[in-house]
Symmetry: C2
Subunit: 405 residues, 2 copies
């Protein structure tokens, strides 16, 4: 069984190990919730201060041009594009993931006279809600579907919408395979990258994905409620119809014409004015990804999740780990079931080990590869063993349900 | 004719005069573009720094509860509610104005089998684009309409959507009268308060407005691309159907149920996760409105715009001022036509007087009552006279069109 010094040795050889010190992690905290809210990169506060004091305070309205605010959604989009294997000029950072999913799902629904939309029942609830609303608005049916059952996708399917990594189990779906199956059936493929981007390399262009959306505040570390992003493949851009035709999606927004003419490129996925301060924080946070190899990032992620699962298997053999063991089938988190998962997570939080709980019985631990160390995993497991052994989770305090864990 | 010392005397007696020093206005700048981007309140940078360093950096995911992020849209919404005469629990700060207009217009369109949507051709283009998209999605027709022609609203009208203050001319529409006419015809009234809130008192509840939207980055000073807001009257909330059913609009978002059940109150107007940093800046900026009387705010606004128009009329009698003289018919800006309006505005900017240009021939000057002084108006007019007298606007540099002025 691996020892604590083995874990430290792994950290010493980690090509991304130097990045840890670029993040602010409070003393005494083992932060395994970067898949919910990424940690703060140390340089972000000063960068935001500059944007607020210099660009807003001094530059005022002129900063739309001089500070590059006007083009910020595309500039940030292109930076994210590198992390998700997108073509240049095919990603815009704006709005929320839910709003962006609404845009692309509406366009795909409107463009098809087929009657079905497929997703899987493990998809994040907001995706299911949005897809269901889009289905009803376009007189289609949203059907829950098991992507692993091997049955062909019917010719009545307009599009398949999946989240690449399941938010509860950490299972990673086969983007290339499912997209190819959708295309073979004449359907379109939409992917949500919320739990992928920044933890593992995504290959949107290579997989010929049609549309994608994702979140800026998880592994991208863009701050609470950071701007999300939307990908429209170059081939889909000319026919993409944003259901919300706002001025920033216009070909020439400042002509102030009353007739809407969509921008001929990815800008047509914009609607209203972007939240510049939130977007500036995301822009700054992406600096940490500069000059690192996405293969190193993925290797680190797999190494951390492997270690967590190995230690769990050795120490708590009866625990039901729901995250797949095969490296290509998992994202950046490990989850297990426990009948008192909520209380276990709370007892760990009291010890400084921050994971989270997901209904009804999932304890979830995200291992952001930029700042989580192998030794953190080793220590976290010791805390978990202590919590389980001492029945600490049975304390009254931990049994009370908070709104968000 | 009023002298510079008369203007200074007006400032000395201004009950809001002390607020000027709470804003960061660069030395040598007369900022008359607060209706496009509000100036920076001095305390905002430190407040944002706290949110970033303490709440995000140290508090991490726990700040959703401990720092009040989860409820921030409603808390900020209620603060804005005071400025727009809304009932408690009827305003949510989130998303952009365009996205929020899409939500309420879609709901109003869906709820009616009538065939027409009315707006006026002076409405802001993005509102027209969104309304037109909603009309097409619901098989209705968007018709341009003159609210001043006195003809009754037909019984084929589903709703009337207006911006209270025209973004080009500064004309203020009769919210009470138009809303009453819409209601008399069995139609719904939607108002965009982008150029109203923070410059003049709005009385949504008293006017029985059904839905409203507005912008956080103009007179509310929330920073570039600040969160917008949406109002749904208490009476309309039970039947309001958000076309984008996202998790934050769910009755119990963290149950993660796959069945969408809308929140029974204003939270149903939310979709995805709010941009916390941008929203925190808006929240901080609203502090400046604490403890001030909206009547004082309106009186100051009218005093500034009156002075601007009086001085213009005395000094440049031939100029076509398009802003109404009657106090109840104008918002917080004054605009005039000039065949070379763009170049005139640029020449003024070169002198430190920041207004803006709107297609095709409008020079627009916003007088944010929290920080613009009467003496600023007096000085700005002298610069304008100099620009017009010297034909400075004919300089090559000022004839080039930038993307945004």
């Amino acid at each position: 069984m691996i020892s604590r010094s083995d874990a430290i040795h792994l950290d010493d050889r980690d090509p991304l190990g130097h990045l840890r010190e670029r993040f602010s992690i409070p003393e005494g905290v083992i932060y395994l919730d970067g898949n919910s809210l990424g940690a703060l990169p140390n340089h972000v506060p000063a960068r935001l201060q500059k944007v607020i004091v210099n660009d807003w305070g001094d530059g005022l309205i002129g900063s739309w041009n001089t500070a590059g605010w006007a083009d910020m959604p595309k500039r940030v989009g292109d930076r994210i594009g590198r992390l998700i294997g997108a073509e240049p000029d095919s990603v815009i950072a704006c709005d929320s993931t839910s709003v962006n999913l609404f845009k692309v799902a509406s366009s795909a629904a409107r463009a098809s006279d087929r009657s079905l939309i497929l997703t899987d029942e493990g998809n994040f609830p907001t995706d299911v809600y949005v897809l269901d609303a889009v289905a009803r608005q376009h007189e289609k049916t949203l059907r829950m579907w098991d992507p692993t059952d091997g049955s062909p996708i019917g010719d009545d399917v307009a599009f398949v919408a999946m989240t690449e990594v399941n938010y509860r189990t950490g299972e990673r779906h086969d983007m290339a395979g499912i997209t190819a199956r959708a295309h073979a059936a004449g359907a379109v493929a939409i992917w949500d990258l919320a739990h992928s981007a920044g933890a593992l390399p995504v290959h949107l262009a290579d997989c010929a994905v049609d549309f994608a959306v994702g979140c800026g505040y998880k592994y991208l570390n863009g701050g609470p409620g950071a701007s999300a992003y939307v990908y429209v493949s170059p081939g889909r851009q000319p026919s993409f119809e944003n259901p919300m035709t706002g001025w920033w999606g216009h070909a020439r927004p400042f002509e102030m014409s009353l007739a809407f003419e969509p921008h001929d490129g990815i800008h047509r996925a914009r609607v209203g004015t972007q939240h510049v301060l939130s977007l500036a924080a995301l822009d700054a946070a992406l600096d940490v990804f500069d000059d690192i190899s996405l293969e190193d990032l993925h290797a680190k992620s797999l190494s951390l999740t492997s270690l967590f699962m190995d230690l769990l298997a050795d120490s708590v053999p009866g625990l039901e780990v729901v995250t797949p063991r095969e490296p290509h089938r998992r994202g950046g988190q490990v989850s297990f079931r426990h009948p008192n998962a909520y209380a276990v997570v709370q007892a760990l939080v009291a010890r400084g080990v921050v994971g989270d709980f997901r209904n009804p019985d999932i304890a979830r631990f995200g291992m952001a590869p930029l700042y989580v160390r192998h030794v953190d995993i080793w220590d976290a497991i010791q805390h978990l063993l202590a919590v389980l052994a001492n029945d600490e989770w049975q304390s009254e305090a931990h049994m009370n349900r908070a709104a968000i864990t």
